[in-house]
Every structure is written in C-alpha cells, then in structure tokens.
Symmetry: C2
Subunit: 130 residues, 2 copies
DNA sequence: TATAGACCCTCTAGTCACTAGAGGGTCAAG
DNA sequence: CTTGACCCTCTAGTGACTAGAGGGTCTATA
C-alpha cells in the first residue's frame, strides 16, 4: 500500500504520515524498487490508532505512551486510565472556560449599534479604564 | 515605566511585551541612558487592550485589525462587529466539538476496570477494527 | 570602593503538530 | 515519448509565545 492510499483510507495527509514516521510513531515501512514507501496492515492499524487518539484530543506525547502501553499487554491498565481521565478533566476545563468567554463575547456583540467607531461599544469594552 | 513594571501591572511576561513591540503591536518606546525601554501611559493602555482582546480569544491578526479600527474613529463599526461575531461563532463551534468529545471520553473512562493492558477497554476502543 | 543581586538588553532557537514549498524522481496510460 | 498523477527528501513556515545564552545597568549594602 502506497502512502497516498494509506492517507485516503485513514483521512490523514501524506505529509502527516511522513511526519509520524520521522517522529517514530509508526515504524519505517519497506520500500519499493522506486523508493516508494510500502505500508502493510500493521501500519494501517497503528496509524488509525494514532488518528483516533488525536481526534480525542490526546497530545502526541500521550499517544506515544498509549502506544507503548498497547504494545505491553502484561502491565496494569492504570496509567492508561490516568491519561484518559486527565484528558477528560482538561476537556471539562476548556468547556468551562469557553462558556464564560461566550457570555462576555455575546454581551459585546449585542451592544453593537452599527454606528461609527467613535461610538463603538465593542471597542469601548476592550479599552482599559473605560 | 520600565518593562518589568509594565509586565506586572498588565499581567504580561516581559518577553511577550518585547515580542509585541517586535511585531509592531505596540510602538517602540523611548530608551533611558542605559538603553532600558521607557514606557508611558499610552503603551499601558494599548497593551491592556491587546491583553483583554487576547483573553477574549481574538488572534493577533484580529487584534491588529481592532487596533487599526480603534485608531480610526470616523469609520463604520461594522467590521468590528463582524470580527466579534466571527469570534463568537468560533467559540460556539469549539464548545460543541468539546461536548461531543466529552461524551466519547467519559464513555472510555467509565469502562476502565483496572485490569491488565490486555483487557483494557480504553485501548480496545482506540484500536481499529475492534 | 567593591560586589551582590535584581533588573535589563539582543539574538537565536525551541515549543506543538503539523503544513507548504522547492526541486527533483517514478510509473502507467495514451 | 510525453503527460500527469504520484512519490521522494529537505528546509522552512505557522501562531503566539517561551527559554536560554551571553552580556550590560543600576542600586544598596559591606
């Protein structure tokens, strides 16, 4: 399987796959006579794992740990759980932050009366000491 | 006012202030005999405006536009409103994304039974083709 | 007067997770 | 034999800072 096909089946950009290989997240694949990368099913699985984890918001460093865990079937699952919980906490914090931001922003937006800049309430709200 | 004091009063790091100056977001201040930056009230106002905008999630490019608007009192306030509305839309989209992410993640976290990696449901959920 | 310590300077490179581009090579179809 | 899709490597750019090296300035105290 060439890199373009792998990219299409996983919804990843070609450059990103090469980047993951350079970062050691997926093993270097075999090469064809023409020096094209030749991926197999294990590469596909590993890349899908990485993409799914990234979609869930895990950092590449977290993904690295998860991959190491996944390769190490005997160890306890505690660390995996901790990483997932930490991620969940972060998501909760981000949601809370964005909610309070939303309140402020929609306050701004609703004040705009379409006048000139001189009387713009948005800019006024951004300006210090009123 | 030296850079450290400006940093403390605005809650900005010293390096960030220098960065804003290099980016042209705040004008280059006067210098003391010892080549220290010497800021005045206008710098403080402008930096506060920038920080407040950044806290509200505007990008530096958006801040640049807002600053240009604020310096230009005759023009219509439309563009300011558009920028604020776009930012609000983005915040709404981010919140929605994070909410659905949260559903998935909390599903994962609640499945962990603290066994070994081999039976870890989190890793299973990340793994492709079950 | 010497020196310690807090503060400041410039310049460069690093962060994260890619993304884009230059400048080239390979391969199958027409 | 040429076109065009695809592939290669390598370098640099993105956003918004952040950190560090290697130095200079200023004030207070011994």
């Amino acid at each position: 399987m060439r890199i373009g096909e792998l990219a299409r089946t996983t919804g990843t950009k070609v450059e990103t796959i090469r980047f993951y290989e350079a970062e050691g997240l997926i093993p270097a694949p075999a090469r064809t006579r023409g020096n094209y990368r030749d991926f197999d099913g294990r590469h596909l699985d590993r890349l899908s794992f990485i993409r799914r984890s990234r979609d869930l918001g895990f950092t590449l460093d977290q993904v690295r740990v998860l991959l190491r865990m996944a390769d190490n079937a005997q160890r306890s699952c505690e660390e995996v759980d901790a990483i997932a919980r930490e991620q969940l906490d972060q998501v909760d914090r981000k949601i809370a932050d964005l909610r309070s931001l939303r309140v402020e922003l929609s306050g701004l937006v609703n004040q705009c009366q379409q006048g000139t800049i001189a009387e713009c309430r948005i800019l006024e709200a951004l300006r210090p000491r009123q």
